[in-house]
Symmetry: C2
Subunit: 287 residues, 2 copies
């Protein structure tokens, strides 16, 4: 399709929405915490109407967890390898000619995996020239998505629970009181990255042992533990000698960038917002 539309990145917790003009540029933008889990069952149509009241009475494309089994309606998973055309061909119109939900992406082979939303960013990054057509992309968050691009397509991906595991340890584990400090990519973080090559469950208990034996102060424990987890995640991707394109908010992107560098790769920061808008704009034109 052509002409203006509303683009929505509707995640689990957060939501971003844009009015995209006839020329393809963003004309208005908002961000709020009306993610999927804050919308009651049956409440999505009213949410879409409220978005239109603020941003314009236009057709709407929604990416992300809004298309999951806890969202507005459950959309299909399109199997890898996939491109923007495959996504555009699998839209679910929940309001005829008005509102469509994007499908998710799946790995259906021996190692099952799923994503909802990050595939738009990954394919958009390549479409906009922010990453080359053959590249490894890193999209960290609660669950870190690693997207392998080939010939501009999403060839495959891996999801690691890295961010959620750190939050579990900090918020609910016996290490919790030690992990309250802010995490920066300094020496303690890099020490954790260096120690992340194996026996991770023992290394994590070592955070407690090191404190009890006076070997590390708790001002460094959170950074060390974060380095352990992010280091183990990065090590599993085969980064030595590779350029990794990182789409992340700056603080988390800096941690992944430092781990990638320490483990022999080179991190290139990519503007995730621009990547998303390029991806969803292309899908709109292909629809």
């Amino acid at each position: 399709m052509e002409g203006p539309f509303l683009a929505v990145d509707w995640g689990t917790t957060n939501r971003r929405a844009w009015r995209i003009g006839a020329g393809g540029a963003s004309e208005a933008e908002e961000k709020d915490e009306r993610g999927m889990i804050s919308v009651p069952p049956g409440g999505f149509a009213a949410e879409a109407a409220a978005l239109r009241a603020r941003l314009g009475d236009l057709p709407m494309l929604c990416a992300g967890m809004v298309g999951s089994n806890r969202g507005w309606a459950e959309t299909a998973y399109v199997a890898c390898p996939l491109d923007l055309e495959a996504i555009a061909a699998a839209l679910l119109w929940v309001e005829p000619d008005r509102t469509a939900l994007l499908p998710g992406a799946a790995m259906q082979g021996g190692r099952p995996d799923v994503m909802r939303g990050e595939e738009v960013q990954a394919l958009g990054a390549v479409a906009a020239g922010l990453a080359p057509p053959d590249a490894l992309l890193c999209l960290p968050g609660t669950h870190c998505k690693w997207a392998e691009m080939g010939g501009g397509r999403l060839e495959g991906f891996v999801t690691a629970m890295t961010g959620e595991l750190f939050a579990l340890l900090r918020d609910h584990s016996l290490l919790g009181a030690q992990l309250a400090a802010a995490v920066a990519p300094g020496p303690a973080f890099l020490e954790g990255v260096a120690a992340s090559s194996g026996d991770l469950f023992a290394r994590l208990f070592g955070v407690r042992a090191a404190a009890l034996l006076g070997r590390r102060g708790d001002e460094d424990s959170a950074a060390y533990a974060s380095g352990l987890l992010i280091g183990a995640d990065v090590r599993a991707r085969g980064v030595p000698g590779r350029e990794i394109y990182v789409l992340a908010e700056p603080a988390l992107g800096a941690l992944y960038g430092a781990a990638i560098k320490a483990l022999g790769g080179r991190a290139v920061a990519v503007d995730g917002r621009a990547a998303f808008l390029a991806g969803i704009g292309a899908i709109w034109r292909l629809t």
Copy 2:
């Protein structure tokens, strides 16, 4: 010392206490949930008096977290390698000639680690002939302790947060609803053990992906996830071709035994109660 005494295994959550007769045999036994965290600061002497009122007015030896910085009083850590003599030489008498707390054990080298209580079981297992003087012992629980015995001494040990990580995932993570089923050492557990060789954070997310894609029912998810975690723990110990002496309650011991067998070792179940009583009895005689 000689003569009867009270032996207490005073852990974080649970407590076991025995009256040991002049001949060294248990004459009375109780188990309750008056572990360290349920005793208010300053309340330990009253707890000890209550134990004496029930079991007998005798001297008392207390092992475990009661000697930690949140317990009755903080005792030292004795560095590995250590034996029962070294423990007996480092008792802390919190009530003169009446009540003593055992020290903990520590690894002070490049990889710091600590334990409180399990060293009595490990050394006691060897002293009682339940495990040979050169052996690898496995003591699973919230934190799994792996004790390397050499010449009857505790040469070194590793603590892995395996049990706590499983509880965090089940009780607080996005996988939680999938992990409610009971865990048995069947095919799904062994599938997890087989998949535990690397990229664990991705394998854990795979529990969710497999369910969303209809590849594994949630009746099997908990066993698979447990197999992943226990498998990774066991793999880090170098078990192929070794006999591993497992001191655990039966259900957890069966899981570790199945993982050890699947990974090429041989598990030998050891009576943890008998091992503890042998260890603390020997310490009493050495005091």
